[in-house]
């Protein structure tokens, strides 16, 4: 997977040498994706979902990791993106890319409307506000049956594609998803090293100190929130095109809990963390399938062990420095 390997360059560009430690998380991701492409079938499905979650978690990481804010409501933007894609392509027979663009625009508008007032709130007020957004959008997807079909769900969503091509094979979808994840990882690495990235680190460190240095805290928080919403919306659109079906549960509270786990297990605030976390958390239950009824127990025990031995996340184990 050359596309996965190339994403290490921006992170290592500022370091004197390219050590195995920095490459390892990406090597792991490339190996897993490569294996799934080679084998196809069920593993390909599991890894495909993991990559869609990775897109979402990369966005979550911008807001929660880089800017040190909390949002329980990013699933709302996945739902907006996903449902917009689903409705426009399945009901109105649009092609996927324009539908995805409209979904993302809608997610950005809603995120802007919500972020403008709530990002002035601090700490748990912001968290509560975002939780409410998640629940409201969830409720709309259930109740607005004339458009969303409620719990029945929307089916007949075409696969992702453009210019007359459709990506229908497992392998094709995996390559497409891996490319999107690689691009998103690359962008988040570039962002972290940018002027905006430094400003976000300052906001994460101390909002008041950042403000006293003339850093426009509210503006950068809003920007991070918007970027995060855009990636969530993209993940939602990818999901509906890969599965071909969408219902309200897809973007429910379960998604919030799962993606938080991915973010913390992978390493919040790191570049490789979201991808590593999404893959590990998706694969973990599968590896414990042989435990039968003890599967959940093993999964839970594995999570606890990881949080004890890698409290800053798995990818932080491999970084040279503490996470900024």
């Amino acid at each position: 997977m050359t596309s996965s390997l190339s994403i290490t360059s921006p992170e290592t560009a500022h370091r004197p040498r390219l050590s195995w430690r920095t490459v390892l998380p990406y090597g792991f991701a490339a190996a897993v994706v490569g294996y799934a492409i080679a084998v196809g079938g069920y593993p390909a499905t599991v890894v495909g979902f993991a990559l869609i979650y990775a897109v979402f978690v990369i966005g979550l990481n911008l807001f929660m990791g880089f800017a040190n804010q909390v949002s329980f409501g990013q699933n709302a933007f996945a739902a907006i993106g996903g449902y917009t894609s689903a409705v426009l392509t399945a009901t109105y027979e649009w092609t996927p890319l324009p539908a995805m663009g409209v979904g993302m625009a809608a997610a950005l508008v809603i995120a802007g409307l919500i972020g403008w007032p709530t990002l002035r709130l601090k700490g748990h007020y912001l968290a509560m506000g975002t939780l409410a957004i998640g629940l409201i959008v969830q409720e709309i997807t259930v109740e607005w049956t004339s458009v969303t079909q409620g719990y029945m769900g929307l089916s007949g969503i075409p696969p992702m594609g453009a210019f007359g091509f459709e990506i229908t094979s497992d392998r094709g979808q995996l390559i497409m998803l891996a490319s999107v994840v690689a691009a998103a990882t690359f962008l988040s690495a570039r962002l972290k090293r940018s002027r905006m990235g430094r400003a976000l680190s300052a906001v994460a460190g101390s909002e008041e100190a950042a403000r006293a240095l003339g850093i426009a805290v509210a503006r950068y928080k809003l920007l991070a929130f918007l970027l995060s919403a855009a990636l969530a919306s993209l993940a939602g659109s990818l999901f509906v095109h890969v599965v071909g079906f969408v219902s309200p549960e897809v973007f429910g509270l379960h998604m919030v809990i799962l993606t938080f786990t991915m973010l913390y297990v992978g390493g919040i605030g790191t570049i490789a963390g979201p991808v590593v976390g999404a893959l590990i958390i998706s694969l973990l239950p599968e590896t414990f399938r042989g435990f039968k009824e003890y599967q959940d127990l093993a999964y839970g025990a594995a999570l606890i062990l990881m949080l004890i031995y890698a409290p800053k996340g798995l990818s932080a184990l491999f970084s040279h420095r503490r996470r900024p």
Partner: protein, 248 residues
């Protein structure tokens, strides 16, 4: 000790660097700072003294607009925007907050870089950084070190260095001696004296009054949210009267 209410400024006639008129601040319904007048003349080091809870930190936060405030603050005669710390800071009113507020997980170099966040001129950036390195040689040795792993004194040096990177017109310091060993405190205050000697206007909030009065051109004594006295450090021979304000 004589309490002087209107000391002549060295530069009387020109507008002070920083002037607050009827500046008050409140936390919710509680007025923590009652309307006060205060000014800093060009090149002056003004100390703000007072016991715990007198409103010293609140005064600095009110100047920046970090708390809900009323009244006016002017920089060289131009009123500063209210409730907008970002705009105030970018005009050169720079605060070294209580507890230092350094970015712990970042390196010393990155912290300094963030101080000059508004600056896009690379040459000026290099010049300011060089000056900070000269003032605090210990920071130079530790540029790549994670800031949070340094000693309290070094962190305070970094906090001041970071503020200097912002190119302050007036520097506000909130208890730079907090939690530091006496020798380190002296070293840091001596550096402030050097900066002031080079012409930088400074407001120094300090609980350790004797140390602050050694440096200050003038001092305000704050008690329960009001300025109760303006002092001329040269005329203070005993601290008895000063102590009375502390324990009043």
């Amino acid at each position: 000790m004589s309490v002087v209410h209107a000391l002549p400024d060295a530069t009387s006639g020109t507008a002070p660097v920083l002037e607050a008129r009827a500046l008050a601040a409140r936390y919710g319904h509680v007025e923590a700072l009652h309307p006060i007048d205060l000014h800093v003349a060009e090149g002056e080091l003004v100390a703000v003294l007072g016991p715990n809870g007198a409103g010293k930190s609140t005064l600095l936060r009110a100047i920046l607009g970090l708390v809900s405030n009323s009244g006016t603050v002017s920089l060289r005669g131009t009123p500063l925007p209210r409730q907008n710390p970002v705009a105030v800071a970018s005009r050169g009113v720079v605060l070294v907050p209580e507890g230092r507020g350094i970015f712990g997980p970042m390196s010393v170099a990155e912290n300094l870089e963030l101080g000059a966040y508004r600056l896009r001129d690379r040459a000026e950036f290099a010049r300011r950084r060089e000056r900070v390195m000269t003032l605090f040689p210990r920071l130079k040795e530790r540029l790549t070190q994670v800031a949070g792993s340094m000693s309290g004194g070094e962190q305070q040096m970094l906090a001041i260095g970071r503020a200097l990177m912002a190119g302050p017109q007036v520097l506000l310091l909130d208890e730079p001696s907090l939690g530091l060993a006496p020798r380190v405190t002296e070293e840091i205050l001596a550096t402030l004296g050097t900066l002031n000697g080079e012409g930088l206007s400074i407001i120094l909030v300090e609980q350790k009054a004797p140390l602050a009065l050694e440096l200050a051109n003038r001092a305000y004594l704050l008690s329960v949210g009001r300025i109760v006295a303006t002092l001329d450090p040269r005329e203070i021979t005993s601290y008895d009267e000063l102590a009375q304000h502390y324990f009043a």
